[in-house]
Every structure is written in structure tokens, then in C-alpha cells.
């Protein structure tokens, strides 16, 4: 074995008694065969693979990264708290040195949950990575974090939560938004005015196979990470890029996933989507766990694997190469882009329409960001949902500068309460959350 062994933590929580609804892809059966495969391969008997029971996330931990409308109590069930708690347990075991890396193999997922949450979208109620990231920052004082979202769907929730945060690099590779939910995540989405380059989107054409994913990893993700120098790397490990996934159109394999994990070497991996529960998940997860632990994964293969059948076309290869070129050219120009985008404005405003497919809710948002050279910038959000809920939120960033703090606190005090059901202050720097 050429690779050094690593101590790998596994937080496995398949929630065998919970489903969104009886026929939903996010149902009891989802991790059943994964559990079978992990147990049959005897992975938990390796001395360097340790299993941990998930903790339960608290509402305060959720309030550090979400504005839940009306509150996290109404938006979550035990399943969500355990899923986020499992991610936190994984992080805790890594950061206290119990293990070298950890995989939270938990459900339900979270990466479509945005900063303001009126309900569930894309099977997600709360963003389990974001809850974990805020736990990491708050408990261990770690500042620079990178999230690499390898789910087939754009990690739009994580992007939204850290859009204005220059210290959290969110890289998402996903099937092109023109062909798949949630329809976003184009290269030009590059971060808020004070955090340009801290959001990277790499859309890939349908039928991208191992070759394409690994090309993007080698030629975009790894170089960008190398320059960003994160203290912690997190993999939002969706497994729906698999060639057998029923709701996507990609051609990734278990071998590809394992190799990607070995090269990326995340400190923490958190399961996201992946609904080919029999043909993909058992093998992909075994591959990822072995790769994280530095064990030999070369013989892990789906029983129906056929390299020729899933090989990507030269057209696909060319599209991917162009995409990578575009991303890298943006990345190199990220410092010059700010002047171009902000001009002489002191505040930048954007409007967003957000649809919650799982709960059938439509939301309109106006986000205002203070242009700031000293921090991620004060953020204010006005949000109206067709549930009739209208709220206002003031968010002070993690490393908030005195000017942004002063302005934010003033706005929060002055805002007219009659127009809104709730007004929230989320102070990420001082870990304060106030609702009025």
C-alpha cells in the first residue's frame, strides 16, 4: 500500500425510521444497502476506522447560520437535528484530534438550505454543513474554511449562506443548471462584492465521467485550494453524479469518487444527495471510506461497472476544458473585479426569487450589502414568502469591521417593526441572535 493509513471517523446515521413521505427518494430505505455493504466488507473492524454516535444539534447552533422563519423549532424535526448533529460530531472528532478525518454518513441532506429558510427545498430543511462550519468557527476559532460540493446539484444553499464571506470558499461542481435542479450555479456566480472568488461554480455537461471530474479537480479545484490555503477542507459529498442515479445524468463511478476523495483529502466529508440506493451508494460509500482511511480501494467496483459504456465523449471533454479555462481566468482576475462591479456605490442590492420545491413555497428577497474593504460587509435582507410571512434580517459578518457593525446595529434599531412579522439580528462575530 503506497498510502499512509489515516484514522478515519465514521458518523453513520441512516435514520431507518424517517422519510419525507412514503414514496420520496429521501426515505427509510435510502442507506439500507449502504449499511449492508459497509458491514459486510467489515470496514468497522479496521483498527483505523472508528464509528461514532451522532450528537443532536441545538437551535442556537442553527441560528448562527440561518434565519429560520419563524424559528428553527418550526422548521426542523429530530431527524434534521441529528443529521446536523452528526456533522458536528464528525468535525469535533477531527478538531480534537481523535481522528485524522471523518465522514458524516447522515441523512437528511442540507446543501440547498439558504440563509433565510421559510421551509424545505431540494429535500433540505437546514444546511447541515453550515451549522457544522459555524460550530467549527465558534468552538475552535478556525477562520479559513473551504467547502467543495461534489453533489450533482448546485450547492446553492451553502453558496447563499457564505456568498458574502471571504473566509469561506465554496466550490461547487455540478451538472449544468440548464439541465438540472436547482437551475443555478453558473461560472459567473462568483461571490458577493466583498467576497469575490470565495464562491466558485463549475457546471459540467451531462454525461461527464470520471475523467472529466478528475480533470476539474486537478486543473481548477486543487490549484484554487492551494492558493486559498484553507485550514479545513470539507467535502459536501453528494453521490448523485453516479452513472446509475435516477434523477441526474452524469457518469461518475465508485472508483472515481474514491480517487477524488484521496486527491482532495478532505478533513470532513458530509453526505448530501445520491438516490441510486442499490446500485451506487453501497459501492461509492465503501470507496470513499477506504480512500479516506488510506486503505486499498482499487477493487471496489459496482457489479455492473463497464468503463466503455460510461466513457465521456470528446465533445464533453472539450466543454469541460473550456469551463475550467473560464473559471481559472475569473479566479486570477478576482481582485480587479471588485472595482468593476461596485463602482462608487456604498451599497449593492440584488433581488432573488427562491422556490421551495419540497414545501411549495415562493419567496422574494431583496439583499443589500455594504461595500466594505475591511470585512465581508453588513448584509440586510428583506424577505416575503407566499405563506404571507414577511421578515427583515440584519447579518453582521464573522470578522465584522466597526463601521459595518455600527451601521448594522443602527439599522436593526431603526427598522419599522409594523411592516414585518419578525426582525432578526444575526451577529456571527459575537454569536448573538436577536428576534424582535
Amino acid at each position: 500500500m503506497p498510502h499512509p493509513l489515516k484514522k478515519t471517523g465514521l458518523v453513520f446515521f441512516p435514520a431507518f425510521d424517517w422519510a419525507i413521505s412514503a414514496n420520496h427518494p429521501e426515505r427509510e430505505e435510502r442507506l439500507l444497502y449502504t449499511q449492508d455493504q459497509v458491514m459486510e466488507e467489515g470496514l468497522l473492524d479496521f483498527p483505523n476506522i472508528l464509528e461514532f454516535k451522532p450528537g443532536i444539534a441545538t437551535y442556537d447552533q442553527i441560528n448562527r447560520c440561518h434565519i429560520c422563519v419563524p424559528n428553527p423549532q418550526n422548521l426542523t424535526t429530530h431527524s434534521h437535528l441529528i443529521s446536523a448533529g452528526g456533522a458536528i460530531t464528525a468535525a469535533q472528532k477531527v478538531l480534537t484530534g481523535v481522528v485524522d478525518n471523518a465522514f458524516a454518513l447522515v441523512r437528511p441532506p442540507g446543501h440547498h438550505s439558504m440563509l433565510v429558510a421559510h421551509g424545505a427545498r431540494g429535500f433540505c430543511n437546514i444546511n447541515i454543513e453550515a451549522v457544522m462550519i459555524e460550530y467549527i468557527r465558534h468552538t475552535f476559532g478556525i477562520r479559513r474554511i473551504a467547502v467543495v460540493d461534489t453533489d450533482c446539484h448546485h450547492g446553492d444553499g451553502t453558496q447563499d449562506i457564505y456568498w458574502n464571506d471571504p473566509d469561506v470558499l465554496c466550490i461547487s461542481i455540478h451538472q449544468d443548471g440548464r439541465t438540472l435542479y436547482p437551475g443555478t450555479g453558473f461560472t459567473d456566480d462568483f461571490g458577493g462584492p466583498n467576497a469575490l472568488g470565495a464562491t466558485i461554480n463549475i457546471p459540467l455537461p451531462p454525461r461527464t465521467s470520471d475523467e472529466g471530474f478528475l480533470y476539474v479537480l486537478d486543473n481548477a479545484i486543487l490549484p484554487i485550494l492551494d492558493e486559498f490555503q484553507p485550514q479545513i477542507i470539507i467535502n459536501s459529498a453528494g453521490q448523485d453524479n453516479h452513472y446509475s442515479d435516477p434523477i441526474t445524468n452524469m457518469n461518475f463511478s465508485a472508483q472515481g469518487y474514491a480517487l477524488l476523495n484521496e486527491k482532495l483529502a478532505p478533513h470532513i466529508a458530509v453526505l448530501e444527495g445520491g438516490y441510486s440506493i442499490e446500485k451506487a451508494l453501497p459501492y461509492v460509500n465503501v470507496g470513499i471510506i477506504l480512500a479516506m482511511a488510506g486503505l486499498d480501494y482499487s477493487q471496489v467496483r459496482e457489479p455492473d461497472y463497464d468503463a466503455d459504456r460510461i466513457r465521456q465523449s470528446t465533445d464533453v471533454t472539450r466543454l469541460i476544458e473550456n469551463e475550467v479555462k473560464k473559471v481559472m481566468s475569473l479566479w486570477k482576475r478576482k481582485k480587479d473585479l471588485k472595482k468593476q462591479i461596485t463602482g462608487s456605490a456604498s451599497y449593492i442590492r440584488r433581488e432573488k426569487n427562491i422556490y421551495y420545491d419540497t414545501d411549495d413555497i415562493s419567496e422574494k428577497q431583496i439583499e443589500t450589502v455594504r461595500v466594505c474593504d475591511d470585512c465581508g460587509g453588513l448584509v440586510m435582507i428583506e424577505s416575503t414568502a407566499d405563506t404571507g410571512k414577511r421578515i427583515y434580517a440584519v447579518i453582521l459578518p464573522n470578522a465584522c469591521c466597526p463601521e459595518c457593525r455600527k451601521s448594522g446595529e443602527m439599522f436593526f434599531e431603526k427598522i419599522n417593526g409594523l411592516q414585518y412579522h419578525h426582525i432578526y439580528l444575526q451577529d456571527r462575530q459575537k454569536d448573538v441572535f436577536i428576534v424582535k
Binding site: D17, P25, E28, E29, E278, Q299, R301
Partner: protein, 557 residues
Amino acid sequence: MILGIDVGGTHTDAVLVENFQLLNKAKVLTDQANILSSLLAAARELISKENIRRINRIVLSTTISTNAIVQNKTNRVAMILLNGPGLSPETLSLGEDTYFAKGYVNHRGIPVNGLSRRQLAHISQEISEKQIHHIGIVGKFSSRNPQQELEAADLLQEPSRRMFLGHTLSGQLGFPRRIATTYLNAAINDIYRKFVDDVQKFIDKISQEIGSSIPVYILKADGGTILLEQSLSCPVQTILSGPAAGVMGFLATTAIQEDAVALDIGGTTTDISVFADGIPLLEPAGVTINGRKTLIRGLYTKSIGVGGDSVVKVENGQIIIGPQREGPAVALGGSIPTPTDAMIVDGIVKFGDHAKARDAITGIAEKLHMEVKAAAHAIVEQMAETIASHVIEILAEINNKPVYTIHELLEGKKILPKMLCVAGGPAAVAPVIARKLGYPYVIPENSEVANALGVALSRTTAEATILADTEKQELVICEEGCVQKIPRSFSLEDTIELGKKTLQNKAILMGAGSEDIRMEVTESQSFNMIRDYYTTGKNIRVKVQIKPGLIASGTER
């Protein structure tokens, strides 16, 4: 009347029990080179012309299987692994006699790749050339579908060969453990068979004398008994029956009904076992023997390196106890101070040479700059503290065992001991440990023959694992090697009912008395299988067990 015999490492103990009362006991030295002779010697001390006709049950525990494994007195075994993709062959191989063959069954028990007759014929020839007569065949996921193992056995069958198939030994998942279990089962086959033959000859002689046959049982690692002749197909189940006898001994000598912790404090080590509502806990995945992790159901015991004869020394002003032992206590003729010497000086036990004990502890006291009596007390406290902190750690580990449902995570059973049972030579330290743990203690009566009593009074245990997949309309009873058709409408209730029926028959075959068949459904899950948004069937998983415990009073008639 029951005759129970426990062959231990040093002594072989025998007891005669009637109506749960100890009538007589005997102790002989164990001759490890000839375990049978020790067994017979102990039996002869108790059996007389007067009582022989009243004996209606004989139960043994033996170290024969364990010794064979530890001392490598095993058969050469060819292992044929139907491994398919997954872990690399190097990780799985047991050495030059391991063969990897085509064939693969997936997690649902659906065959993905078939066997290759030509490959198996080739392997068969090599095995013949090597003159190996014991063949283990283990398939990945064979507990989900044993057919490929059975087919391979058919193809390899020859009169001179004995076949050992993975699925027969456990319904649990764990391919590497299944390989180890099957290997060990094959490896100790001959030595165990010889032992059973010898015991049988002795019993036949008695049976002839009294004109009726006495059933003979042997204790398994899980503290359950099985008829001797039935154990021939699964000798590996009898490994570690010694520690199992120890745990069952606590049940036989103490009325444990609640959550409890039991300590068997010996010379070198202390064995810790745990009871939930009076039932001894099992190892969750299976026992480990000689470094090999198996699927063998076994009682949970944890051994720590602290005992009455542990070496006591002072390092950097701290008292260090164990884990080494270098002979008996100074008070009993040894040369190195031990906790036993400290207990003598501290006045909590009264035996041995008090003056010698005092001398031994004086050396320690000087290094600690303490009075001799205070030093002795500190050593006893330290010993109790070490044991108590291990108990707390073990309970935390058990109570933090991962669970896979929200219900169990929020409301799962937590073990909160209400009693500490302590046996062994240095059991006098029990009050000190109990004070640290905060629950009352009990030192059982007859603890010198507790293991033999445990052996005598243990009931038959068994388990059955049933998997029903209504999409493929197939049901598997793993350990029985049974695959049968079921209708689409087959339900969880149907599966449980079949599981109970299977277990009932199995337990009777293993020798269980009808009043001892107390079945518990330990796992029952039914998953809706949805493919392309439509329900296509149910994946049903049921496990039924008879957990370890004592026989009902009615059994003994």
C-alpha cells in the same frame, strides 16, 4: 439432578445440583495435555452408585477448542472465497491455502456473477495435490443467499473431504469475520471430534450401566448450551466457553434481575461483564479469539490487567498496579509486593503471613513517604479506583453504541447498574469499588464453584435470522441454508411467525427443554422498496433469539 463440569485453566470444577441447590462439589487439577482425563476425574468424584440413576443432565464447558486455536493444534484448511469486488484479496487472504473464486451475490442476495466450474475444478485439483481434506467455502453476502456456497460445496465434494460453509455459522454480515469463523470451525474440527467421541464413550458406558441415556450438553461462547452431538457441526461455537461459564456463574449464584456489573477479580486480571435487566450482554459483532475477529455470538467480557497478584510499584511518586504478575503475594511466598499484601496490611483480609506482607508494603511506603498502614490503604484505594474507572468507561462505551433509528437515539435503553457482583480471591475489595461506583455490592455464595454452577444451570440459546424480499419474492433463513419462494403479500408478521417456528425447531434440536424456549424478537424491520416512484415490494429483516439465561426450574426433573 444435574452434573456440571467446568474445565478451567488451572482447576476443573464439578458440581451436583438438584432443585437449584448445590449438593456436592469437587475440584481437580486440569491436565491441559489431557483435558478429558481431568473431566472424567472430576466426574468420578461426584458420581456414585447411589446417585447415578438420578442424574438426568450433564453439562460441560471445555477449553479444548480455545487451546487448539491458541496452540495452533489445528487442521490445514483450504479456504475458497467467493469475494467479488470490494476489499482487496491481500486484505482477505489467510495465506497460501486461500483461493479466490468467481461468484458474487449482492447485498440483496441477488447473484451477480456465477461460479466457474472450470476454475473450481482447477482449485479442487490443487487441494488434492496438497492433500488438504478440510475445505472452507465463504461467499460475500452468503448470509443473504447461501446458494453459491452450497453449489460450490457440491462441485468440490469428495468422500475424503469435509466442507465448512460460511452461512451455516451466523446470519450476521461481515465477510472477513465470516472467513475467520469458517476457517476456525474447520481448523479445530478433528481435535474437537476426537474430544466428543471420547466423552461419548464415557457417557455410553454410564448409560449402559443405568440402562438409560443421559443427555450431555456443552456450553457455547454465548453462555447457552447445546447437545454434544449437535455441536459437532459448529465446534467453533464452543470457543471461549470458559469466560462464558464465569458470566453464567454470576447468574447462577446471584439473583441478578436488574442492570448490573459483575467483576471476576483474579490474580492477574479482572474480568468485567455487564447485565441488562438481568440478561448478560453479548459482544455486538462477535467474539475475538487469538486476534481473529469472528461472528461467534459470545458474552461480553472485558479483561483488564489488574488483579490480586499484580505487581505494585512506585513511579514518580505514583502507585502503579499491574499489568504484570510475577508470582503470588509476598504474604503467600512471593517476592514482589501485590495488592493482596496491601489488603492484608490494611486488614480487609486475614490470611497469609502478615509480617511478610508488612515488609513488602514497607518498601512501597518509604518511596511514598507514608506510614505503612496508610500506604497499604492507598494501594487498595488505587486498585479499586482503577477497576471502577474501567467500569465507568465500559458503561459509557456501551451506552454510546451507535444506533440507527431516531427512536433508539432519543429513547434507547441506557444501562444504569443497580448492583455490583464481585467474585474471586481478592473480592474483599468489593466495598471500596462499590463506594466509588455508588451502588451496592454482593459477593455471591459458593463463588469457588460459581463457574461450574453456571455451566450446570445454563439454558439452550439459539438465534434465527430471516430475510424476506417481496420484490424478488424470496425468503432466506440464513443459518439453515434455506431459500424459499414467498408471495408478494408476505408481511412482517408472517416473517416473525416463521422466524419463531424456525427458532423453536432449532432449539429443540439443540436440546432445549420446552419450558426454556423463551423467544424474543430482537430485530424486526420492514422497508418499503420504491423503484422509479412506485412501491415494488418490501425488504423485511427479522432476528429472533433465545437469550442466555438459566434453565427454568421445570427443566430439571
